[in-house]
């Protein structure tokens, strides 16, 4: 049995519509059923993605295939999005009581169905985005992702922070979308094309003026900078991350960022030959590293800390982008997915009982040793301790930087890694040194526990054997 690539996205979209439809008419059922259904459906699609028919080469670049590619990078990120969404849904099941409390509605389960259905649409958008090789397609899929995030971020309608986050995200995202469209029109104006391959061919031809092309790329970069939270477009991140429902924050910081990087890798390739572009990116990467790490140092709220850490990791990823090290970036993203989602999963469990300040983790090792251990692994990986995926990610990135002689970025990278040890170990310290701030074990659902064990296992496994990830990228 073979499957053509776009049918995966279509299947996910159909799944989302089905969940939404059934949810409307099923008042009596426990709404968590829909989350489990969605997870199961996405898992099926994930399995199906391994039976894809190889892309026919003769059709490449014509008709539909000038918008859409099914190269290994695209397939890989489809799987990436599916796994992320499944994990986020598992987290959402745990988080459902919190959401229910802050939604006005007659029935006790009002709103939960949409809460579980929307991530499926986001996933479809992420999957389209992974395959997009045309600026129009990039724009449309990006909007599909962003639209569902608008709703998800502001989902807890009675919670002022969530609403504030929603408004901030809406306005700034809309602004960045504006930049993107404007940039695309400039690119079209300069080259007369929107397909990435043809754009780069047009740019390489001698007749093209480089100044307007650079300006166009700058606009596109600004828009993508918002998505990946690179300095100076990171202002929205801490507030939105803190205000949004925690599973949505995890989704935002992993899914949205990964998609941004895939697009960045695809879009930048024709432009990186220009020296100005490289210098600009080095500047952005350096600024992101410094800002993210320094601002994370004094944080006392774990959600905010993770927000700044996500900015910091965007900096490391940008080092990889500057060095055109696609493999390093992809590996780092996978590591980032595992460790970030794991830390958010623990955060969801703990914050239900106490709160999401670092203080609330005090003495967690005595109350729930398993959760504390999961968090320890996440933090160790984020900081970059060997035998975790986070370390190997940094290893790949630094290797690429050494190969490209990016001395400035290497020096900044090493200083910021040291900063990282401080703020990640702050969490370890709270969990293991301090006296417990509350009594009793933290309840964790079976699904979450299973997901956490799987993520810990994956962090260690990929930290030693990166083969499955890097090989998946090769045709």
């Amino acid at each position: 049995m073979t499957i053509v690539a776009p049918s995966l996205e279509i299947a996910v979209l159909v799944l989302g519509v089905l969940v939404l439809l059934f949810e409307t008419f099923a008042d009596q059922i426990d709404k968590r059923t829909f989350a489990y259904t969605a997870m199961l459906g996405l898992a099926t699609v994930f399995v199906a993605s391994f039976f894809l028919a190889p892309q026919a080469t003769e059709v490449a670049g014509a008709g539909f295939w000038s918008f859409y590619t099914a190269d290994p990078l695209a397939i890989f990120f489809k799987r990436f999005s599916l796994v992320t969404t499944i994990l986020v849904l598992a987290m959402m099941i745990d988080y459902a009581p919190v959401v229910r409390d802050s939604i006005p509605g007659a029935s006790p389960q009002a709103g939960l169905g949409e809460f579980f259905a929307l991530p499926v649409f986001t996933c479809a958008g992420l999957m389209w985005m992974a395959s997009a090789i045309d600026f129009v397609m990039i724009f449309v899929s990006l909007e599909l992702v962003t639209m569902s995030f608008y709703v998800l971020v502001a989902f807890m309608r009675r919670n002022a922070f969530s609403l504030e986050a929603g408004v901030k995200y809406l306005i700034l995202s809309a602004l960045s979308t504006g930049f993107l469209v404007y940039g695309i029109t400039w690119i079209f104006g300069v080259t007369g094309e929107t397909n990435l391959a043809r754009v780069s061919a047009a740019l390489a031809s001698p007749g093209v003026e480089s100044a307007p092309a650079l300006f166009a790329m700058l606009l596109v970069l600004i828009a993508l900078g918002f998505k990946i939270a690179a300095v100076p477009f990171q202002i929205w991140v801490p507030d939105v991350y803190q205000g949004a429902p925690t599973p949505v924050t995890a989704f935002l910081s992993v899914g949205s960022k990964a998609a941004g990087f895939v697009v960045l890798i695809r879009v930048l390739q024709p432009f990186l030959v220009m020296p100005q572009m490289e210098r600009l990116l080095i500047l952005v990467a350096a600024g992101t590293l410094i800002y993210g790490n320094l601002a994370a140092l004094p944080q006392t709220n774990l959600k905010r800390l993770l927000a700044y850490s996500s900015i910091a990791h965007a900096g490391y990823l940008l080092i990889g982008v500057v060095c055109l090290a696609g493999e390093a970036v992809v590996y780092y993203l996978v590591a980032y997915l595992l460790m970030t989602v794991l830390s958010f999963a623990v955060l969801v469990a703990v914050s239900k009982q106490t709160g999401d300040n670092i203080e609330d983790f005090n003495g967690l090792a005595q109350r729930s040793p398993f959760l504390a251990f999961a968090m320890l692994m996440a933090m160790a990986s984020l900081a970059g301790i060997p035998f975790t995926a986070g370390f190997l990610g940094k290893f790949y990135i630094f290797n690429a930087a050494v190969a490209h002689h990016q001395i400035t970025l290497i020096v900044i990278g090493i200083v910021t890694v040291a900063c990282g040890f401080y703020y990640y170990f702050k969490v370890v310290r709270a969990m293991y040194w301090e006296a417990p701030s509350a009594d009793g074990a933290v309840p964790v659902s079976g699904v979450s526990r299973l997901a956490m064990v799987a993520m810990i296992g994956a962090i260690v496994f990929f930290g030693i054997f990166p083969g499955p990830i890097v090989n998946a990228l090769r045709p």
């Binding site: 970059g384 301790i385 060997p386």
Partner: protein
């Protein structure tokens, strides 16, 4: 296979303890079994004249980078393994009553030991580095949870220093890996040793500098030493024993294993810099040590100071000096472990380590006083103890480098200054001994009791080893010279 067992068994034991096995018994048995297995390794070690690795086991981990989980030993790594096993055994035995989280404490100790074992037995750059870093979190927790005094600051300081040092080192290792043409690239020590001649001299200098600073931070090379005294003063005694005795030696081992043979031109280029810095260790830190008013700080600084001699051996550029450095690594590891263990016992009984408040403990704790005296003598470098043989070789070796009766070079000057360092260490060690064990005892100390009978075993073991190798240093010299000979043979 035994080698694999020696590396993985402590990890397995630590995990078992975390999962609820009886902490002390499991830890002690596993440390004992590891020590036994290491002795078996010594028996099985053939010691060929070319310094080749023996008992190699290798599993491919990453085809892409050609990373293998490869273990193997030559004389130098065997010596380090033996040191690790001995100090771990003593440290676990010395662990007294733990007020909270007993299991976690023992598990952390065993993780540090496993990290050291793995690093010393690895033949692959990646695992060599990774195993050492494995010890970072346990160290942070050991100082943070069970430490005393200013433990929070100390734990942060050591963690951030070591993390920074490690990442500088990582950068150096990546550059080392990339310095040879693409086809010759490998993480394997054996391949590296063959392909190292392809590294251009300029690159050698840069890489050596990175390795020097990376390893230097890990070994508390002046001026990056400030984390060490504070951390050792705050750490619980077994953690200080393991860290100062074993884990810290990783940096020295790395310089001997990688920097000297692979980057001879780089080593030559920066030798003068290294000598200036290590004189900072010997002279400056030596003076600082004399000024200390607390026993634990004094020991911490003294361990920083003695690193200077090992660095001097590494910088000496002669076979004798380099061999002396290796012997001194072992000797210092044993003596400092004993000193920290006894200081920990004194703190447990008296509640203080301020030299002024102590005194006359020799009458109350004759066994501890006797052992401390021996360890102090060893640490000073009195003949008959293993430190002496190491220091003598280091100083002779350094003096001989470019020796010219007409004119002294930096090597001869460094030797002379180093000799003054011996005098300084006599001053602070003997003063501390007098202040703690001699003189009149304070009122508050009258209830102090001597060590438990059971502790005679680890003390006896460590003392016996120091004395044995003080009289028969050839055992180790024979073990490590084949390795070092290849370094100096390649040079000519």
């Amino acid at each position: 296979m035994i080698l694999l067992f020696v590396v993985l068994f402590p990890i397995a034991a630590a995990l078992a303890i975390l999962l609820g096995a009886p902490a002390r018994r499991t830890a002690l048995w596993s440390a004992g079994i590891t020590l036994g297995a290491t002795l078996l390794l010594c028996l099985g070690f053939e010691g060929n004249a070319h310094g080749a690795y023996e008992m190699v086991t290798s599993f491919s981990v990453n085809d892409d980078w050609n990373i293998n989980f490869a273990l193997g030993i030559d004389g130098l790594s065997l010596m380090m393994l033996l040191l690790t096993a001995l100090v771990t055994f003593a440290a676990v035995w010395f662990t007294g009553e733990i007020a909270q989280h007993r299991n976690a404490f023992y598990a952390c100790l065993l993780f540090i030991a496993a990290g050291a074992m793995g690093a010393f037995a690895s033949l692959d750059l990646f695992f060599f580095y990774a195993f050492h870093e494995l010890a970072l979190i346990p160290t942070f927790l050991l100082i943070g949870i069970w430490g005393s005094g200013n433990r929070v600051v100390a734990a942060w300081k050591i963690t951030i220093y070591l993390a920074t040092g490690s990442f500088i080192l990582l950068l150096g290792l990546i550059m080392l890996y990339r310095a040879v043409p693409e086809t010759a690239r490998s993480f394997d020590f054996r391949v590296l040793q063959k392909s190292a001649i392809l590294i251009p001299a300029k690159a050698q200098g840069n890489i050596f500098l990175l390795l020097l600073f990376g390893f230097g931070i890990l070994v508390s090379l002046f001026p990056f030493h400030t984390w060490a005294p504070e951390a050792y003063a705050s750490a619980p005694a077994p953690a200080a024993m393991l860290h100062a005795g074993v884990l810290k030696k990783f940096g020295l081992y790395g310089l001997l294993r990688l920097a000297l043979p692979l980057l001879p031109a780089g080593a030559q280029e920066y030798n003068t810099l290294l000598i200036y810095l290590l004189l900072g260790n010997i002279i400056y830190v030596g003076l600082v040590t004399i000024a200390q008013k607390r026993l634990d700080w004094m020991l911490g600084y003294s361990s920083v100071m003695h690193m200077g001699y090992i660095f001097l051996g590494i910088a000496s550029g002669t076979l004798v000096g380099t061999t002396g450095a290796a012997v001194l690594i072992f000797a210092h590891g044993i003596s400092i472990a004993l000193l920290f263990a006894l200081a920990g016992e004194v703190r447990q009984r008296t509640g203080t380590l301020v030299l002024e408040d102590l005194g006359g403990l020799g009458k109350l704790m004759p066994l501890a006083g006797f052992a401390f005296g021996l360890a102090a003598f060893a640490s000073i470098g009195l003949p008959g103890f293993s430190n002496f043989s190491g220091e003598v070789m280091v100083l002779f070796g350094t003096f001989r480098n470019g020796a010219n009766p007409e004119r002294f070079t930096i090597y001869q000057v460094a030797t002379l200054l180093g000799l003054w360092g011996v005098v300084m260490s006599a001053v602070y060690m003997l003063r501390a001994y007098r202040a703690v064990f001699m003189g009149s005892q304070g009122e508050s100390l009258s209830a102090v009791t001597d060590l438990r009978q059971g502790l005679r075993v680890p003390i006896g073991l460590l003392v016996a080893i120091t004395i044995w190798f003080g009289f028969f240093p050839q055992t180790f010299v024979k073990l490590v010279t084949p390795t070092f000979k290849t370094y100096f043979a390649a040079k000519q």
